[in-house]
């Protein structure tokens, strides 16, 4: 075992990467599931090991194939991306455990193995984005994850899934292209793609127009991938029409990874001083973030489809994360990372619960699920736990997020921002309550008379994710310690 440890960064990506063709070759849904689950579990274990190692021993650098940078691709793990790797891989594993029943229902027969192939490929892409220390390599993995997610969304049962996937494809490609243009400009000016080298070379030429343009292209491209208001319009449909498992996985991870890259570029590569001191990035992020908090929440209140409602709530939550980033302080970055983690937990639990309901009644419309609370008490429990966490009630993960966010705003002496945060969090009450009201207080529809609780294979992971929302609301040691350490590294703009 011990001789594997130096190669953990490579294994993090290589294991799921090789599992993808195996899933395809397996040809049978069940077998593909086992392969995907094994690979995803291995990725989770790797991420845990990496997180432990880097937290205690400092930054881990790995040269792919022994090629030294800047020619070779370097993988770099510090606490910031180890945190993301941990979130992505563990959510992926939980959702995989959850998937078989929902795949059997939602994916056309004979295509199950393709679903798992794409799923594990998407995971590869997301992990790769997080772990790589090479700017161009980020683009490559961005495309791997995006292309596979377009396919995954298109697998959704309704025909609208195709339009949603197509729109996401166009928007995602534009985002990726913006990012690529930015990286290209940087390469033109510095002659390197390695992030550490970029970091040392940019300061000398930081006021040149190509670098400014590169900065604009990269930030806008990543904001588009992260669905920052007003570039969020692709997201609601993509999440609403995707298969249940895909919604849960993507809502919890995909936009978060883009936000991580945004953090990495602004804080490590360009440097906080440059991005927020020389350039007005805080306003460029703050204004859309505040708008997102309100527009996202208001839109969520009026949605008739609960998956769409959750998607709009994600838009609002991304607003909170971006808001925290825009404070450009250690406390702000900590708050952003903590909320990235906690929001992943909330949305994974809630989308999984929606999947359970869809499994039984083939709809996620709010009228269709009236009165289901008594027939599906455990699913309901998960929804209430996730909902309370979304509201930020104490003893849930959401409270921790809110606490750090308010604290960060206060440290920057922005009382008016605290008021806005408070107001918009009251909006969450309205849409969460609407859901609870429909499930508990509305007259059950006669069509649902025979509905029973979702199968255990779906219920158990859903409840585990819901339980994680409670657990991480009480025992905050791991996320808080990692987020604080990561924020410290990012703020220092430490040279790898």
């Amino acid at each position: 075992m011990s001789n594997l440890i130096p190669h953990l960064p490579a294994l993090q990506v290589v294991i799921p990467l090789f599992a993808a063709p195996l899933c395809l070759l397996a040809g049978r849904t069940g077998l593909a599931w086992i392969i995907a689950l094994a690979a995803s579990s291995a990725a989770t274990a790797t991420a845990m090991a990496l997180a432990y190692l880097t937290y205690h021993n400092g930054v881990i650098s790995y040269q792919m194939g022994g090629w030294a940078p800047p020619w070779g691709i370097e993988y770099v793990v510090d606490t910031a991306n180890a945190f993301i790797l941990l979130l992505v891989s563990s959510i992926a594993t939980m959702v995989l455990i959850y998937s078989p029943a929902s795949v059997a229902k939602e994916i056309r027969p004979g295509r199950g193995h393709l679903y798992y192939c794409m799923y594990i490929l998407c995971l590869t892409g997301l992990l790769g984005i997080a772990i790589t220390g090479d700017a161009f390599n980020v683009f490559v993995f961005l495309e791997i994850s995006s292309l596979s997610s377009y396919a995954l969304i298109a697998m959704g049962g309704q025909r609208k899934a195709l339009t949603a996937a197509f729109q996401y494809l166009v928007m995602g490609t534009i985002g990726a292209t913006f990012f690529l243009i930015g990286v290209g400009l940087l390469y033109m000016m510095t002659g390197t793609l390695n992030m550490a080298d970029l970091q040392t070379r940019i300061p000398g030429i930081q006021d040149s127009r190509p670098v400014l343009a590169a900065f604009a292209f990269i930030t806008v491209g990543l904001a588009l991938k992260a669905a920052l208001f007003p570039m969020h319009l692709w997201l609601p449909n993509a999440y609403a029409y995707a298969p249940s498992g895909v919604s849960a996985f993507m809502a919890a991870t995909a936009t978060k990874v883009s936000l991580y890259v945004l953090l990495r570029f602004t804080f490590t590569i360009f440097g906080a001083k440059y991005a927020f001191g020389n350039l007005p990035l805080h306003w460029v992020l703050l204004v859309p973030a505040v708008l997102a908090m309100f527009a996202g929440s208001f839109s969520a209140i009026f949605q008739r489809d609960i998956k769409r409602m959750l998607a709009y709530s994600s838009v609002a939550q991304i607003g909170y994360i971006t808001l925290a980033i825009s404070l450009a302080s250690s406390a702000g970055v900590t708050a952003a990372l903590i909320h990235i983690f906690n929001h992943g937990l909330m949305k994974a639990a809630l989308f999984c619960a929606m999947g359970c309901i869809f499994y039984r009644i083939s709809s996620t419309r709010i009228d269709a699920m009236a009165g289901l609370g008594r027939q599906m008490p455990w699913t309901m429990t998960a929804i209430v736990a996730g909902g309370l966490s979304l509201l930020g009630v104490p003893l849930t993960a959401g409270f921790i997020s809110k606490w750090y966010l308010v604290q960060a705003a206060l440290q920057s002496n922005l009382w008016w921002l605290v008021i806005l945060i408070a107001l918009s969090s009251m909006l969450a009450l309205v849409y969460v309550w609407r859901l609870v009201e429909a499930l508990y207080f509305k007259e059950p529809s006669p069509n649902n008379a025979a509905v029973t609780e979702a199968p255990l294979s779906m219920l158990l992971p859903t409840l585990l994710l819901a339980g994680a929302n409670i657990y991480f609301g009480i025992d905050t040691r791991v996320p808080v310690a990692m987020a604080e350490h990561a924020a410290e590294l990012l703020m220092r703009g430490q040279i790898w």
Binding site: L233, L279, V284, P394, L395, V406
Partner: protein, 563 residues
């Protein structure tokens, strides 16, 4: 034998709440009655000072920190939980009692919280659990009231949390001790506390929500939320002068609205605000005597207010849900025991000599006199007469005497009678022999309630206001009126908002809104227009226009950066 307890006593009640749904019959009753008693036992084993610490985020919490004040409040909260449980054994709702246990546990938790975070956590647990208590009445009115209730409390919670975070950011300490209102953070904390105390302009959530709970639910509700607010004010803001006018306002607000009210439990709800007003004034004056008085008054108030609401709850249960004074009357013939209990409670709330109200409220009045606060003292005296009018005479008179309403309900079941008996005994017992209560107050007591002067003054006051009631009886007759309160603004506003949301989002778009305030619905319509499923901000856009947004944003950032 265990001689100290090193865990939050609230956990016993939480465990009870967790067990209850799985039990039935005798086992359920046994657990339901044992849990509060066990908690009471644990409360008295909590030693002074900090018992345990707990790491949470980057702070070290002190979830259990005992002192005289904490123990006093925790004691009355657990006694209340026990008697309330006994009263509600016949309650059909499966949700109510577990929620009430969590609610009571939250209150006990706040009482022992040594730091702001623990306090806030239990505070929010109370908000959620008390909402569930209102819910469990199961009526449409209760559901709507619970919605308004939780909105108000989560709002208060957010304000409180912002204040706590701000204070922690300034001082670096999470300790929960006396604070000064000299910065934004402590002001926010004070506002957060006052929301729960029912202070203006947030008074109306209380009479709005409490009467909508079930016949037993209201009994629980009356005890915990406002009295934990009194507790945290005692701990955090003793001697804060702004509390004197706030409390005085609450006193008279409660009296006036209670006099105008027709629903018997709403009368008693307004009188909670009135009574909490006395305590808030006592805290505002801030001498040892008045702080003692406020604490003692909270203790006795929980008992007699619960007794009053138990008698009202019995009437409600036995008449099959008659709430209005105009529909009641003459019940003393068929419910003599309940009527007697109601009268004892009414005498206690009027601080009649030899009842518990007398020995506690007079401490606050005496404290005001000692500080030569003439107007405050005058106000308190006048208010005592007002309390006698609205709660002391009005409630029993219209419910149990007055005309014969023709109703012939029987007495409530034995368990309800016993629980009322316990509290009636405490009302009179503490009134005659206050020493046990004085012995556990936060400061040493050298106050003698029964001097001739006190008793005579009080009796004169009560006699004359009683006389006034019957002289003015024709004017006091309640008709079917609706009293407008401050909450009209946000209730009306909120109801319209909620209805708009429901109508827009359900497929059956029923009816027009005759009473709709046009401008408001226009505003919501506008938000809906922009944010609704087909709105500008939420509809499925053509891909081209999405791209346009991205391009516009890119152009904008380029302009920004190139400057």
């Amino acid at each position: 034998m265990i001689d100290t307890v090193a865990f939050p006593p609230a956990l016993i009640l939480f465990a009870g709440a967790f067990l209850l749904p799985f039990l039935g019959g005798i086992a359920r009753q046994a657990v339901a009655l044992a849990a509060p008693l066990l908690t009471l036992w644990a409360v008295w084993l909590v030693p002074d000072g900090n018992v345990m610490t707990l790491g949470f985020m980057e702070y070290t919490l002190t979830p259990v920190e005992g002192d005289r004040l904490s123990r006093l409040f925790a004691t009355i909260f657990t006694i209340m939980a026990f008697t309330g449980t006994l009263f509600s054994l016949g309650q059909g709702s499966k949700l109510e009692l577990p929620s009430a246990f969590v609610y009571a546990g939250g209150a006990v938790g706040v009482a022992f919280a040594g730091d702001m975070i623990t306090m806030f956590v239990f505070w929010e647990i109370m908000a959620v659990a008390s909402t569930a208590v209102i819910w469990s009445a199961g009526t449409d009115g209760a559901y709507k009231a619970s919605m308004r209730y939780i909105t108000m409390h989560l709002f208060g919670g957010v304000v409180l949390m912002a204040g706590i975070v701000g204070l922690v950011a300034q001082t670096g300490s999470i300790e929960f001790g006396p604070m000064k209102t000299d910065n934004v953070a402590t002001w926010l904390i004070l506002i957060g506390f006052l929301v729960n105390a029912g202070a203006p302009p947030f008074s109306s959530w209380l009479p709005d929500a409490y009467p909508e709970a079930s016949w037993s639910g209201t009994v629980f509700l009356s005890a915990f939320t406002t009295k934990t607010a009194v507790y945290v004010l005692l701990r955090g803001f003793p001697g804060t002068e702004i509390l004197i006018p706030i409390g005085s306002y609450m006193i008279f607000y409660g009296i006036i609205y209670a006099l105008l009210e027709n629903d018997m439990r709403r009368i008693l709800s307004y009188s909670i605000i009135n009574q909490v007003g006395f305590m808030v004034v006592g805290i505002g004056i801030g001498t040892e005597l008045t702080l003692n008085g406020a604490a003692a008054h909270a203790f006795t108030h929980i008992i007699y207010k619960a007794l009053l609401l138990m008698s009202a709850g019995s009437v409600l249960l036995m008449t099959g849900g008659v709430r209005r004074c105009t529909d009641l009357g003459g019940l003393f013939k068929c419910m003599p025991y309940t009527a007697l209990m109601g009268i004892i409670g009414a005498l206690a709330i009027s601080s009649f000599p030899f009842t518990s109200g007398f020995i506690s409220k007079s401490m606050i009045a005496q404290g005001a006199a000692n500080q030569h606060m003439f107007w405050v003292w005058m106000g308190l005296a006048a208010a005592s007469a007002g309390v006698f009018l609205h709660a002391g005479i009005k409630y029993p008179w219209y419910v149990f005497f007055q005309k014969d309403s023709g109703k012939r309900p029987s007495e409530p079941p034995l368990s309800m009678k016993i629980s009322m008996g316990i509290f009636a005994f405490l009302c009179i017992g503490l009134g005659v022999y206050p020493d046990p209560l004085y012995a556990i107050l936060p400061y040493p007591v050298d106050y003698v309630p029964y001097t001739t002067g006190h008793v005579v003054t009080m009796l004169q006051l009560l006699l004359f206001s009683g006389l006034a009631f019957f002289v003015m009886l024709p004017y006091m007759k309640r008709t079917l009126t609706i009293t407008l309160d401050f909450d009209w603004f946000y209730r009306k506003l909120f109801r319209l908002a909620a209805r708009e949301v429901v109508d827009r989002t359900s497929t059956a778009h029923t009816g027009a809104f005759e009473d709709a305030d046009k401008r408001l619905s226009q505003l919501i319509a506008r938000i809906f227009k922009t944010h609704g499923p087909h709105g500008l901000l939420a509809r499925t856009w053509p891909t081209g226009s999405m791209v346009l947004w991205a391009a516009a944003l890119l152009a904008l950032s380029l302009v920004f950066y190139y400057q």
